[in-house]
Symmetry: D2
Amino acid sequence: MIVILKKNPEKQKVDQLVESFKKLGLAIHYSEGTQTTIVGLVGDTSRLDMDAICANEIVETVKRITEPYKAANRRFHPQDTIVEVKGRKIGEGNFTVIAGPCSVESEEQIICVAQEIKKSGAQFLRGGAFKPRTSPYAFQGLEADGLKLLLEAKKVTGLPIVTEIMSQTHIDLFADVDIIQVGARNMQNFQLLKELGHSDKPILLKRGLANTIEEFLMSAEYIMAGGNNNIILCERGIRTFETATRNTPDLTAIPLIKRYSHLPVIFDPSHATGIPWLVEPLSKAAIAIGADGLMIEVHNNPKEALCDGAQSLNFEQFDQVMETIKNRADVEQKTF
Amino acid sequence: MIVILKKNPEKQKVDQLVESFKKLGLAIHYSEGTQTTIVGLVGDTSRLDMDAICANEIVETVKRITEPYKAANRRFHPQDTIVEVKGRKIGEGNFTVIAGPCSVESEEQIICVAQEIKKSGAQFLRGGAFKPRTSPYAFQGLEADGLKLLLEAKKVTGLPIVTEIMSQTHIDLFADVDIIQVGARNMQNFQLLKELGHSDKPILLKRGLANTIEEFLMSAEYIMAGGNNNIILCERGIRTFETATRNTPDLTAIPLIKRYSHLPVIFDPSHATGIPWLVEPLSKAAIAIGADGLMIEVHNNPKEALCDGAQSLNFEQFDQVMETIKNRADVEQKTF
Amino acid sequence: MIVILKKNPEKQKVDQLVESFKKLGLAIHYSEGTQTTIVGLVGDTSRLDMDAICANEIVETVKRITEPYKAANRRFHPQDTIVEVKGRKIGEGNFTVIAGPCSVESEEQIICVAQEIKKSGAQFLRGGAFKPRTSPYAFQGLEADGLKLLLEAKKVTGLPIVTEIMSQTHIDLFADVDIIQVGARNMQNFQLLKELGHSDKPILLKRGLANTIEEFLMSAEYIMAGGNNNIILCERGIRTFETATRNTPDLTAIPLIKRYSHLPVIFDPSHATGIPWLVEPLSKAAIAIGADGLMIEVHNNPKEALCDGAQSLNFEQFDQVMETIKNRADVEQKTF
Amino acid sequence: MIVILKKNPEKQKVDQLVESFKKLGLAIHYSEGTQTTIVGLVGDTSRLDMDAICANEIVETVKRITEPYKAANRRFHPQDTIVEVKGRKIGEGNFTVIAGPCSVESEEQIICVAQEIKKSGAQFLRGGAFKPRTSPYAFQGLEADGLKLLLEAKKVTGLPIVTEIMSQTHIDLFADVDIIQVGARNMQNFQLLKELGHSDKPILLKRGLANTIEEFLMSAEYIMAGGNNNIILCERGIRTFETATRNTPDLTAIPLIKRYSHLPVIFDPSHATGIPWLVEPLSKAAIAIGADGLMIEVHNNPKEALCDGAQSLNFEQFDQVMETIKNRADVEQKTF
């Protein structure tokens, strides 16, 4: 971290500032010029609060050089992390497809979807039991009953399940869930992240609609700081001025995250745009750019879905998309 | 709501769709043209899911005409809502100033700040006990102990207190808090909103960094749907491409919200930009544009604050800003 | 277009409004309900001004159903447009690579770059003679002399050239240029677009940093309205809150534009992020998602480039990227 | 400027780099640490190209400390600039109102509007003769004839005129115009800016929809670099994710620009939102936050305006808004 001081700072105040850094175990790299004085800080600066330093009256500005995350940082963990779930590997050369409906609606529906997506080659079943809806009047999910139906579908098909948690008070209910999803709106629900850090469940963490890549990795860091390293990151579109799609997929985030971090990254083409015919071209692009997997919405009857039907594929469409996905994962030498 | 059908839709499918709307108690307004068929829906459309309708194969597009919120909607409640807290009125011609430090740090600090802001004219004391920090390594607040210190400061000064809740599991801890704040990152933590809907505490709801005004009002609606109408909305800046300030204050949201909704709206100039010298001009602008109050960060010693010190005013600065605020609230004929 | 009227509009004013639409040759589709009156307009609504209609006191809101562009619209021209330049075809199954330095710096430099990119397989040479720089103190390009050097490089290598125009007063200077580029900052320089509409030169039109896809197609429409249909669109990143890259590539724009329009679309991975190692993964993603070509910055000596050196590839890097590009264009069954 | 080198850079390459800076007349401030080597550059760094430096293989990153603009920078010109036009002063304690229609439509219309706004107290008449319209099919303005009508209205009322230029080829046509406006879409039309730099006409420069404050000041710098210091800056809303208004007014830009620069800044509430009832509250806020003036759209018959009628005020509305404006300018001790 580099602290740039204002012109002609008071000697005594500089000494106090430098002393405060030394107390934190940082090595100091002090350099006084005619116009600018620079204080370089070497050591673990991840615990330093840039705002607090800026508030010092002799400080002009502060620039971070190293990233503020450590556990999630590839610099300190050069090897790719592989998250293992029921014998399936996510990350490092493996390609994973998670599919299923926006919401679990009935036993018949979820089992039927599970069977069909399994036939097409999906390795995980997703389905919402607790649904974050913008409107309090919209269908909120079957909640605990939805979780039971998911487990039923798992029993029938053998597909491990992925489903979203919306509150730390529900963690016990999720005991048999294979991967717990944290949705975009909860990416900075820090209490929830902390609780999940004390769990050993794999966590699928979605990027917030207006969160930077750095903030995304800091949220992963929250979970890892608690001891849980089983994290799968999921890019799902960001909010921009463009209104042609619901969100703007930020595919570039995928190679950037893979360079900065060792965690696996998947992409959700369904939520990223809300337009079903874009699922195939976006899936191809995500594979080409280095994603470790995809999460796709599939519904037995999209037009009667209780939520987000408009963005779901039907079975036939999904089967076709899966053909393409397998082919392109192969081109990228990923193990399907 | 207007549903526009694709060209030459199948008669039978149109009938099914129309029938499904009638079952929901909606009046139908059907109009067939040579190129377009339009189905107008009259009645309470707030429970309709636009996405689900869009997923119907004969539907081209769906347009909402009325807002999706009801309880928060001025159309149905033309009178301004006044939130009363310990005899102080917030909204409709009253002007409210909430001030205090980002974090509660010690008994001495919070009492000292409370006394000074009271002297300058603030009506409420704010202070963070549970702190949402981007980094897990940053100071997370004194938590339950912080709440106790706030209550201590309240006892000494008589100022009612405002503090942020980060988890629905903490609601009991907040029993003696006067106004519970929901922070920007939790604006769409729907489980928390639902729980707060069952409380009768006044809620100060902050706008999310990337949330539209409509989404903001839908989050208020979540709380109101549970029966709690004591809501104060708070604009605090949105995320844009501009990097000169931490966030971009959206002052226009204030008159827009006041037109769409009957709820009081205040503005937080400290978090909106992170730059202390902007607090005064932004406060003046917020008053001029119709805000019902301000929330301002004040610290006894900004440069040694444990969080966000860089954006806090010291006592002398706050006292000067308060002079200006009182003067301009008077110009706008608000009761201070 | 659908015009929704306010509740209980004055009969006479409705008649006037409807009459004004009929005069424009539009068929009217009038439908009066208890709460809403809807006026549907059928016919060529591309010349209607939505704002002007909205200003009518009896109008609640106006919604467009069809796109405001016609010549660029695939609805009216279902076949892909192929732009032919010196025997090379751009669009519809052909894959095009345009490469070269940000700026033309010297005869030696531009000929050397041209020879090397040709060896690696690029079909067009790009190079800036007139440079749009944010700072008036930055290198502004060799201007007319730069154009001469580009033509020199074309003579030596046979590669047709692409270069940016910054003013309509320069059109004569561009007489021997093969493809005239309009940069992102001039996407809505309407006077320039109009002038280029009267030319028969192929135009490479870049998307503005904050322009929607619809506005992008409207700018193409400006050129086409003048009679010039030889347009190649170029996505090059948009401005968002994310600061990890200079701009955020909007790859989704590629399939969207290809669905809405018949014009070829290429992608510029160099300007989209400003980070050279991202050129390869982004190129792969762009090919996978359906781009008709790529425009890539290559420099003989990136670290001494007079402009944007940081984002350029050197010859060896470009040669490697070209291997990948050829391979992936083949996977997508594009003719290279 | 601070250049941070990669770990263990080659001694010879460091020397070359340092030498290259010395040749540019910069003083070097070199500081080698165990983990980082920092090169501070002191002197006029406004001509340095950060990208070019970044491209050097031994450079990790480059941080600017001082602003890249000089002529527009308050650091070097602490006094407010006053732009004088026909005896009227713009800036430093004076408050200016520019009003008029989006487009000049007829002699009768523009003279009538000029007379009415003069009666209400406006000091300048605005009116578009050349109109930048998103659609080539929309009304493009009366062009040269429109300029003549504006001059006619000036003759009748004595109000100096402000009108937008869209091409450097039109500069001669603007010889009798009092203030030449550069619109948001042309803020980075650098050829136009350069030409205007050689003129001595006052220039009203509008901020681009997606341009940062720094880029805005760099565009002013382009004009000033040519010798023309008569610049009035105009904030008019930026593009964000919020769709409740056409653009999001960035009122905070006003005090920021006034701190960074000595140039006067006005605000355009009409284009900033496109909603006429917001003109009054936004005008009040702009005055309160320190604007030197306002530009407001007024039309004799907003509902029949040929362009942007929906955002115009009628005479009665404008007269009321002017009462408020005069009152609040007085509160801020501005001379009207």
